[in-house]
Point group: C2
Chain length 152, copies 2
């Protein structure tokens, strides 16, 4: 505790309460190295306080997400993951074949966001995007497969 004080203030200022459960959920995300699914957060909190309900986890994640303290991303694996929003914004390139995840610098999208704002007046939330596609390796594999298919 101690390093969470700003977060507590933000919660209070927005009319929310800081409960023990919320604190545990929050710290488990804060101190996780990367992305966590809701179930993972649930597991981690349960080791400290076994009586938490999964619905509390989901409700808290929703609150934190609305306050932009955490970012939700669909990494393609079916379940959404959550991660503490850090200073440097970044995005993910996710291969839909091998599921490999690569980071993408924010600059790639910042410019598009700016242009959309300029042209259409729409302020795009481009904090944390998951872009699906095919990684270089899988592209090669697929073209080779296609070549074999055409040959036979």
């Amino acid at each position: 505790m101690g390093c969470e004080s700003e977060t507590v203030d933000l919660l209070r200022e927005t009319g929310h309460k800081m409960t023990p459960q919320r604190m545990m959920i929050l710290t488990s995300l804060r101190h996780a190295s990367g992305h966590l699914t809701a179930a993972e957060v649930f597991e981690r909190v349960k080791t400290v306080y076994p009586y938490v309900d999964i619905s509390t986890v989901y409700r808290t994640l929703t609150v934190l997400k609305d306050l932009h303290l955490i970012a939700e991303t669909d990494m393609g694996g079916g379940d959404a993951t959550f991660e503490w929003v850090v200073a440097e914004r970044h995005h993910h390139l996710i291969c839909r074949k091998c599921s490999q995840v690569t980071q993408l610098d924010h600059r790639y999208l910042a410019e598009v966001g700016a242009r959309i704002g300029r042209d259409l007046g729409f302020r795009a939330d481009l904090d944390h995007f998951a872009i699906f596609g095919l990684c270089a390796a899988c592209q090669r594999e697929l073209t080779e497969e296609a070549a074999r298919g055409a040959a036979h």
Copy 2:
């Protein structure tokens, strides 16, 4: 029928079968004016053939999506929507306050996609993106609210 023959061929060529259920799901999407949710597709098909199972709808949607015949988009309303992939690619700007949907020309993202491909070798699927954010009107509203909040 008749206008679906190319689609049927594509299915066959990729080792799939064309079943009556599949045909109905396909045409309901093909002839729908815009986006349909899975439940909507289910309802439409049921009017013709009441015995379809919802799981068949989901499974077929997955197949069609994998073949890029339809595009899945999370329009924010909680449930994903599907639409027939038309010639001109486009994207959607969805306001997270008023849920208004605006179309965005593909050119905005095409360039980013090209750059990602060039720099990182990753071929991004940018066929049909849903970009969340705040529309111009809601931005104005929010800044006014903030001004009122600061004043009192």
